[in-house]
Amino acid sequence: MNKEERFVQDIRRGDKKKLEEIYSENKAHFISFARKYQLEEESIKDIYQETIIVLYENILEGKLTTLKSSIKTYLFAIGKYKLIEHLRTIGKYELVPFEDVSLLDEISLVTENVADGLDEQTLQLKMGYSQLGEKCREVLRMFYYDGKKLAEIQHLLGYETKDTVKSQKSRCIKQLKTLVGVYEKQ
């Protein structure tokens, strides 16, 4: 197993320290790279953090299992895409040529822009989720964010059966609905 594969495995196991390491190791390089586009330091930092998050989510969702390039190459490919996206929104798109299109095919950048279509209920659910107990948040996070299957969650959390996970998840959703005032139709 090479360094990249080990990294992916660590991330999938939930080792966020590894993500912090990647973040720190590449930060200075990314910032000096992004400065070419005359962006404010604060925007560059935001873009870089979002880039790291996209990398993280891609690994969680299993889109980066076989790595053909180094983590850094992927990171910068995502980062460039994020920069373009940002420049487009502020109307400076023509500044940016993008040469690594092939690399982009390997990673999913169609991470639904969460800011779009954010309705009142989603915001309430977000609030309710943060108020749930740690056990509930863990199960829900694993299922909805980490993209883990119920069987995997069963193993990771040491539940007896898949059904136990399932009922635990249902209980948590019910609790969340109560928190935000949504009642299930019987």
Binding site: K16, E20, V114, L118, T122, L125, Y129, F143, K185
Partner: protein, 239 residues
């Protein structure tokens, strides 16, 4: 909701639907309003959780940039402050910014500008010449007494002035203060500037800083020979 519908939703979010199940999922989404509503809810839930988790991750990355200040660090800071204060106190106690040291750095007897004893004409001018002679001989104790006599007899302010300086030069600056303070030194008096200068120094030796500064300011304002020195002293006192 029937459990097979729940399974379909579960499989949809697990990405584990078979092609057949996928078709069933699509069909229900179109035809079953309740099912569609449930799917929409789960999608919102997924979006909500993602939002929250991203925010948490971003905060975590921020904390990598700025390492948090753990509680135990406060006492490092406190210890550093104590150390700095202690060192500062020690250093200031060692160097000559202390009032007494400044006093000795700045004090020197005022030159004899009244009766330079170049000739032995003591008899001619009596007590005054005698006093200045002692002064020039640096017998300041005796000079102080002699000037006191002269002042009593003549009421000349120069005698009062030199009596005070003699006290200071003989190591009794505290005796100079009431002498110099008792007299009204008018700005046109030739001893105006010097008297304020020596009052400042006497107060400085006595660690009476506000009085020292107030007299130094008068010296500076008079723009005379001593104003430069007064300004420098004021700076060294940290004003």
């Amino acid at each position: 909701m029937k459990s097979n519908k729940e399974l379909l939703i579960e499989g949809y979010f697990e990405n584990s639907l078979s092609p057949l199940e996928q078709n069933e999922f699509e069909r229900l989404l179109k035809e079953d309003a309740e099912f569609a509503e449930a799917v929409a809810f789960h999608k919102k839930l997924k979006a909500a959780i993602r939002l929250e988790e991203r925010e948490k991750l971003k905060a975590q990355l921020d904390s990598v940039d700025k390492p948090p200040k753990p509680i135990y660090r406060w006492w490092y800071a406190a210890a550093a402050v104590v150390l700095i204060v202690t060192m500062g106190w020690w250093i200031s106690s060692q160097n000559h910014d202390q009032p007494e040291d400044l006093y000795f750095a700045y004090f020197e007897p005022y030159p004899n500008r009244v009766k330079p004893t170049v000739r032995s004409n003591n008899d001619q001018n009596g007590h005054a010449s005698q006093a200045f002679h002692l002064y020039d001989q640096e017998q300041f104790d005796k000079a102080a007494t002699a000037f006191e006599e002269v002042y009593k007899k003549t009421d000349q302010d120069y005698a009062l002035f030199y009596q005070a300086i003699s006290y200071m030069a003989s190591g009794n600056p505290e005796k100079a203060i009431p002498l110099l303070e008792q007299h009204e030194w008018e700005p046109e008096n030739p001893y105006y500037e010097a008297s304020h200068w020596y009052m400042a120094l006497a107060y400085l030796n006595d660690q009476q800083i506000p009085q020292t500064k107030s007299h130094l300011k008068k010296v500076i304002d008079s723009n005379g020979l001593l104003s430069g020195r007064a300004r420098k002293l004021l700076e060294e006192m940290g004003d």
